[in-house]
Subunit: 386 residues, 2 copies
């Protein structure tokens, strides 16, 4: 047996020369290199380039930095020590945005694909895979009779779900405009955050359901019948006047409650979302009366309920009053002071104040960014189902 393995090992060395269908040359340098002091060195090999820059959300302001050319056409730049975070970046070579050929790790945000890296120690550790039990992540197709489509969603089940018998509470976690059922997993690092919070005892084990909030879409870019001809764009469109996404939300809940071991009680249901998804969470929590004990609006597309003439929309106010009277455990509104929706959120809260509608407001630095949304999830999840 051992001889056979030696023999096969020799083969595999040959295989290694062929198995990779490499297209074009790719000079190998270490990039990005995270240094012991949490500074980061970017390297890019471009002997013929006149100027190579690096840009990304580690820069404030986000002004591209010109790198320095060293030997053999290796351009290099080292940042100052960076706070613990997940960062995205790319290079700009003579004016062209170029991804780092030495970093296979990328995430897509709408139609932009960016390289990424994590600085550990604090938040970065929460967003990283640690030596802890892991939940499973599934891409699940469900029937939406309301929208007349089969649709795809992502479901996180907590560690032990598949091998156990316990029933769990559910958080429905909604994405923003231009996002889809991949966004909270890829950009939001939901699986890593939840694995870590649950292991640390900070969050209760829960199922997290991440649907696709674009009523015209069956699935995320690349997973619908449009295949690769679909160019990701802001706004998922409406479903030809058939129904809105909040109207179709009952189909999602029905699938989840029929096919997963979930606790079918208001006290065990939460709905939260970012931006457009915050608007959805606002609508869904009032349109499905007495269904959710926990609501999270992150940088939400909300505002005071008014009609076109600026008069109070009595229908909506009446719904909110019912929601208030039905009682709930947490209505959590989070927004960054630089967010372009900051003022609208303030106005919405003024209206809630006038109605004595109870909520908790979490004001943060920063704006309409995934950096904030990961923080909001990390703070919101521990408050649920206690």
């Amino acid at each position: 047996m051992k001889k056979l393995i030696v023999c096969l090992a020799a083969f595999l060395c040959c295989v290694s020369l062929f198995a990779q269908e490499n297209l074009g040359s790719r000079a190998v340098v270490n990039s990005p290199e995270i240094n012991p002091d949490n500074s980061v060195t970017f390297r890019f090999v471009a002997p013929k380039a006149v100027q190579v820059q690096v840009t990304g959300d580690f820069l404030n302001p986000r002004q591209p930095i010109t790198m320095k050319e060293g030997e053999n056409g290796v351009w290099e730049y080292t940042t100052a020590p960076l706070p613990s975070e997940l960062y995205t970046y790319n290079f700009i070579v003579d004016g062209l945005a170029v991804k780092d050929p030495n970093n296979v790790y990328m995430i897509r945000d709408v139609a932009s694909v960016m390289n990424l890296f994590i600085i550990g120690g604090d938040k970065g550790d929460l967003y990283s895979v640690q030596n802890v039990p892991h939940g499973n992540v599934s891409k699940v197709w469900y029937d939406s009779p309301t929208l007349g489509m089969k649709r795809r969603m992502t479901i996180y089940t907590p560690p032990g779900y598949e091998t156990g018998k316990t029933s769990y509470p559910v958080l429905y976690l909604l994405h923003g405009s231009g996002g889809d059922e991949e966004a909270w997993i890829d950009l939001g690092r939901t699986a890593q955050i939840m694995d870590n919070l649950i292991t640390q005892g900070k969050a209760k084990p829960m199922i997290i359901v991440i649907p696709n909030g674009n009523a015209a879409q069956e699935a995320a870019a690349g997973y619908s019948q449009e295949n690769f001809s679909y160019k990701p764009a802001m706004g998922g469109g409406t479903r030809g006047g058939i129904a809105t996404y909040p109207e179709s939300f009952k189909d999602i809940m029905k699938y989840v409650e029929n096919n997963y071991r979930v606790i079918k009680k208001k006290a065990s249901r939460a709905v939260a979302g970012l931006s457009m998804g915050g608007g959805h969470a606002y609508m869904i929590s009032k349109d499905y009366p007495n269904t959710f004990d926990y609501v999270g609006l992150y940088s939400a597309a909300v505002g005071p309920a008014t009609d076109k003439e600026g008069n109070v929309n009595k229908e909506v106010i009446s719904q909110l009053e019912k929601q208030r009277d039905n009682k709930f455990k947490l209505y959590w509104i989070a927004c960054g002071t630089d967010d372009f929706l900051f003022e609208r959120n303030k106005q919405y809260m003024q209206q809630l104040d006038g109605m004595k509608f109870p909520y908790i407001y979490r004001e943060s630095d920063g704006g309409h960014t995934w950096r904030n949304w990961r923080i909001y999830l990390s703070e919101f999840a521990p408050m649920l189902f206690k």
Copy 2:
């Protein structure tokens, strides 16, 4: 309610200006454009570039093609009409390999990330998402006591599995060196191929288990504790002399048979793999006697059982004789005439001939490529569990 939606729609237009954390400029052109005659037009905006080329597996030989610069620095190249296939490509700008900034669709093969597109009509249709029922795809963590690790695998469940009560047969589908539990899904288009074959009645509904065949790895690049510091490379290494991957295979089967509705019979089990995974399928099918009725070796890292001196390895021959005597339904060996393992597969089959070990040989054009492995899966799956 309608007024509210109008009001929110206005917001979302604003949101669209901010929600995308764009890094650097990205000139928008249509690339790749698939023309009605199945030719493909690539476009790349680079006003300052001296030379822009395109390269990919649509070229034979794979000699980069220089594109032509038109107005506003838009470089363009249109191929001849292409046969139906899944193709990968990238640009080369003044010698630098660059991904297409207008195509968010990419796949990673070991440490190379390539753009891709599909030409429909034949195989391309089989590899595309169609208007058919879809199976679910899950990333599942299981315990491997043999390797002393929690490990990650991918599981495809056929359409209707989650909402039904039927038990299904299982195909264990193994990747090659440098691959992981993502490879058969991303590069292999397994979910699309199976959805389509099952709907067409060509393949029986089955569960497909795609484990990670690198004994030293807990999970694919980006999903292990190494996080983004792991640079994908050929060969997953051994587990410090603790156990081999084939030895640990029982842990995978145990998890699957304990946690999924599977038919626990030899007639309902298949194992197949490509390259190193073909070597694994060869080993696993003989090391677990009387377990699999179906075996597939795709471009497999196999050869005649000999020791270092070239003498016949009697221990292995004895195992193969037992496998032969235990009987099975299909032992399928597929290889391309340009494959660097072609001769070794021939030699292996000669040894099998000498033993009257029954197998079916499928010789194809081409070499050690995903193009062949997708074809082999498309031909192998319909022969299973009949």
